[in-house]
Symmetry: C2
Subunit: 312 residues, 2 copies
Amino acid sequence: MAATSDSAPQVVGLGMCTLDMFFVVPEIPDFGQGIMATAYMRQGGGPVATALVTLTRLGVSTRLIGSIGDDDEGALIRDELRQEGVDVGGLRTTPGARSRVALVLVHKDSGERGFAGRPETCPELQPADLALEEFGDALILIIDNASPATVQAASWARARGMRVVFDGTWTSEHLDRLLPLVDVPIVSVPFVRAWMPGASPRAVLDRLWLHAPQLAVLTLGEQGCAVRSETGARRYPAYPMEAVDTTGAGDAFHGGFIYGLLQGWDEIHTVRFASAVAALNCRQLGGRTALPRLQEVARFLCVQDDLQPLPL
Amino acid sequence: MAATSDSAPQVVGLGMCTLDMFFVVPEIPDFGQGIMATAYMRQGGGPVATALVTLTRLGVSTRLIGSIGDDDEGALIRDELRQEGVDVGGLRTTPGARSRVALVLVHKDSGERGFAGRPETCPELQPADLALEEFGDALILIIDNASPATVQAASWARARGMRVVFDGTWTSEHLDRLLPLVDVPIVSVPFVRAWMPGASPRAVLDRLWLHAPQLAVLTLGEQGCAVRSETGARRYPAYPMEAVDTTGAGDAFHGGFIYGLLQGWDEIHTVRFASAVAALNCRQLGGRTALPRLQEVARFLCVQDDLQPLPL
């Protein structure tokens, strides 16, 4: 079932693929009400998928393993990823299945978002669907969910000496099996809300640290991020930014963070780079539209005051 | 610019074309919130366009004059109309322009709707864009807006002995020039809200009647409709219906009403038929999905108590 490619991806991702429909609105339309949107666009999404697009824009070769339907939406998802340069040979297309779509309502001024997703009917990938050779000589695996398939993928990746990055977007009953296999968990506020409701950033990082990762990260939106390493825990502020749309900011952060890991940078430089990529991605509507090229990140960092760690 | 076809449409429509994206939701997603939609679908819309699809399902030949962009959305709009059998030779495609899209949030249980539309960038048709020969030997013109182009089209239609039906969805500064050219105005509650805020159904019909139409109709959703003719004004209830989605109910009513006009039926039979078409269209998600064939309407009417006029 798995198609392999001759290219040698540096990063392999296993995750959800969506087609996102963005409507920019002055307010949320209530039932019985009609309002005028100020913009509309359609773009592929999904945490790992967008992180891989981030990496390809930065010049890193990537491959996506995921599941789509054989509908128009699936074709749009695949074509867009291919255009971005992501190796889509690992995308499974299920005949008769429908691809996942999501509505994203973006506030005209604040860039705040509301979501409605449709549960896709294309099947979730199972461990038996995976093939070891799809990993090639990749250095990093990124996953956005805890499932039997991602647990399988993570354990294979660890056995091959790859590093495993977990973009913690959703929690599940498989999480406790996954976390010991993760080198860098990067979790978000919605994840924490489900996993440790009401917990402080410090408590979240401490719990992640129990599984002995290399680094543990909690992203905090415009509050930046909190990081735990062997030397303790710190918070880094975000770069100040007039956000047009914050969609994909977290995914862009993941992509940027992985870029830093690939370079072997230390924590502070990796966080600065990832924060810059995330900030730049908020410049335009859509989760991928404004993902920067490497020289844009460099230019941005030249004119910004360096982010300094704060006590957590 | 105008393409003409060899077919001889009985009804020509000049109106807006949209691509509607339906998300069925348990609640409206607020900013900062994510919810799960229970269904998603994509379908062409627009008042006149959907009325024409209604008519083609009932066996009437139709032609649509309208404006779309040369984007994917425009292609979907055109292909779907063509599949339904609507003559799309009069659809103008503007290079580089974007088609109109609309978000429709449908309440999971009640079928209530909230809208957000994007203003299209494809140009509104102007009088100079119209060609008299596009009307062929059609008997009825249907329009959904008061604009210089629809005023032009209506005056041509009247000069050729065609009847003009106005699907009053939006008001504009051209309305006073249009109304004297309209044989059957059928207006909706949102139209009235803009045109005569707070007015009673009776007052709305009386004002429409000043322009000497053949019949004047005000649709009232699940309250049915109010009709003014030479013999006075009446209200007709709607057929009782468990609505899955009320999108397109008004457009379906228009299509059914025009069907009755073409048959030369009297008011009560035309209203019953139009009401049955509208009720049947609410059975499924989407403005066009459940538009009935003629024999479905006949079957429906066989098992329903006849709608009886009530005093207004």
